[in-house]
Homo-oligomer: 421 residues x 2
């Protein structure tokens, strides 16, 4: 890699990112796609550099007592590299979100105005020790015309160093500025803090990882942040819910992939159907090894329930655990959700039209559902073709984010000597 | 007013705002319009309460040595109340942005998804001693289904107290929760600071006022902020610019209303036409009393130019002052803009198609123009019918904001027992 990158100060690096962003903003879709294909090829070609670096990170992780789950997220092998390559090639196949005219008109005075999608400029990403995020975010940023400044978890630093090196090599290969992808890992914790304060250099910051990481970034940033993540997700079984629908949707929502943010965490059940619905719903969950944390009314109906504490209602287990509460009615369910939800996804299982509509209207979450598994809250499932993350904030983007959510707009005004009267 | 409002703590007030927001989110457009008409009527009916309170604020302001300009912004008279009433009635006539389906489809598996505009919830507003903002923001928030928490400048506290009182009275009159509009002025500086940190209570914070106020809010907030405002606005006179077009557009951009953010602050001129264009352009400006701050090349071409310092290039004068610089070419102009602009509005005056397109593509500002006055960057001029502000950030909204920019979206998913495979 160019030696300047090695010796650059933090500010020099960010200035280089800004300059690279100006170039990226006007290159063609074809050129960006060529870069993505070059990145894909470089991933497979450099397996013999990536995997030993990853082994080194894993050895350090074991020495530092990293949990098996976290080691699994850190680990790369050849199959995972193939999956990463496929993901990058898939991003190349997506529509370029930039240059799209979002709206436009000719004003009464003849002035023609149009609102056009443009890249943000420089996207910052702060994430944990998951090296696949390095490739994912770089590919998504590139396709949307953004430069990206990466700050990965220190436990993945050897892997990320190689990955950024090959990303930059691929950019150079196709004639794009290598500074379009940069890491600030070498600046350690100070670098992360400075990145959060880098107004004028970083246009938007995307934290990816634990609730703790996201909170740190949100509270420490003066740069605008897109908050993704935490899902204390609810399903409400209405008094009119079908037993089979309830059993299947609750099971799918909890068990299909318990470690992700759209997995079910709290089940609410109308009191009049709790006695008939809870036993079959919980039986099926237990067949898959789910532990039930229930309120007093749940404990009275089902054996071997762990008594739920106040804490359970706001816990994102991300494991085979489920909080269960019997509620008085729809109002009570909505109140519970209002109080404890992280406003990610909530679903009602019902056959009653009026209650379905009330739930959809009154529950204030990024995604509200009727008779569907909460696992459908996903950019891929929604047909976006890319997994940028799921926004739980209300500004800019809410819910699953596709490539257009990695862009801003600008207004283009064309006159013929127009002055304002 | 209800006594509870008087005794409420800061947190109680914000909790009441959240509850009011939940009500507002589901009331009909008709009901919101009734509230707006009631507010309009209350403004005129209560002139005998508003104007004396305003007199008191003005007397205090004079005693504290407030500048004439700021006193003028603070002052209300009957004609200004009529204008305020008219503005509120105008907001009632605008389309309700909520409930609009922004996008939607039926997925291959039969799941129907739609993205629907919904209110943010609770909007916070921090502004300076301009009591008209109290009415403006409350009306815009209400129409878009948002509750609003107001923190006005302390110099307007007597006026604002009466205004909030009549806003709440109008809400009660039409059967809406009065807590949909609240002030936290009684909590002083601590209140402003707490508002900026009120995550979970305030969904978005809008600062309105000086660059200093906006910077304070942006750096001090953990709540998402929509940044409006500062405009170091440029016009570039290309070598192919028409003299008359250049003279008229520069004059209009600088002189028509110099105190606002879309007024011209820096004029750049191509070196090959500086000698022919600058004299007539500056002559016309001087007829309107404009002071020219020029670089060395400008000074060589025009008499009586104040030498520009480095500081002039980044100054938003908001007065009859203009910085002028002769540049080598379009690249030099774009570099100057990149370095000094606040990315609000920039315009090129040219007859050359290729250079027009390059300027529009490469200048990274909220609004980029060709052959038009920068004064057109305005929600009213763009046909939005409302003046929410002009965003200079890239997240969520960029450029003039209309009512839709005061909303978020939510995804509504309708299934028939769908589970993910």
């Amino acid at each position: 890699m160019p030696e300047t990158a090695v010796a650059a100060t933090f500010t020099q690096k960010l200035e280089a990112s800004r300059a690279a962003a100006r170039v990226l903003a006007t290159v063609t879709t074809e050129q960006k796609n060529r870069a993505l294909h070059a990145i894909g090829a470089a991933i497979l070609r450099n397996a013999d550099r990536i995997l030993p670096a990853n082994e080194l990170d894993l050895a350090n992780a074991r020495e530092n007592g990293m949990s098996d789950g976290m080691q699994d997220r850190l680990r790369l092998d050849y199959r995972r590299l193939e999956a990463l390559e496929a993901a990058v090639v898939q991003v190349a196949s997506l529509d370029d979100p930039t240059g799209v005219v979002v709206s436009g008109t000719t004003l009464a005075n003849g002035l023609r105005i149009s609102q056009v999608r443009v890249p943000f400029g420089v996207v910052g990403a702060i994430y944990e020790a998951r090296p696949n995020v390095t490739i994912d975010i770089a590919a998504l940023a590139l396709k949307s015309g953004n430069a990206v400044v990466l700050r990965g978890g220190s436990a993945a630093e050897n892997t990320n160093r190689v990955l950024v090196d090959l990303l930059q090599g691929a950019l150079i290969e196709v004639g794009l500025p290598f500074e379009a992808v940069q890491t600030i890992d070498e600046f350690g914790r100070d670098g992360a803090r400075d990145l959060m304060q880098a107004r004028g250099f970083i246009d938007v910051l995307i934290p990816r990882g634990s609730a703790e990481l996201i909170n740190t970034v949100v509270s420490g940033s003066t740069v605008p942040v897109i908050e993704t993540g935490a899902g204390v997700v609810h399903i409400y079984l209405d008094e009119s819910a079908d037993e089979k629908t309830a059993v299947d949707i609750v099971h799918n929502s909890k068990v299909q992939r318990p470690s992700v943010c759209n997995a079910l965490e709290t089940l609410l059940v109308h009191q009049s159907v709790a006695a008939t619905l809870l036993p079959p719903v919980i039986r099926k969950l237990r067949e898959s090894g789910v532990t039930i944390h229930g309120d007093a009314r749940t404990q009275a109906l089902v054996p071997d329930v762990v008594p739920a504490t106040e804490e359970d209602w706001s816990t994102e287990y991300m494991s085979l655990d489920l909080a269960v509460r019997v509620v008085d009615d729809l109002d009570d369910a909505i109140e519970h959700i209002h109080r404890y939800s992280t406003h990610h996804t909530e679903s009602i299982i019902t056959n009653d039209l009026a209650r379905a509509e009330r739930f959809l209207a009154e529950v204030d979450s990024a995604v509200v559902m009727v008779n569907a598994s909460t696992r459908f809250t996903d950019g891929g499932e929604f047909g976006f073709g890319a997994e940028v993350g799921i926004s739980t904030q209300k500004l800019h983007a809410r819910g699953p984010m596709g490539l257009p959510e990695l862009t801003s707009t600008k207004w283009v005004v064309r006159g013929a000597g127009h002055v304002r009267g």
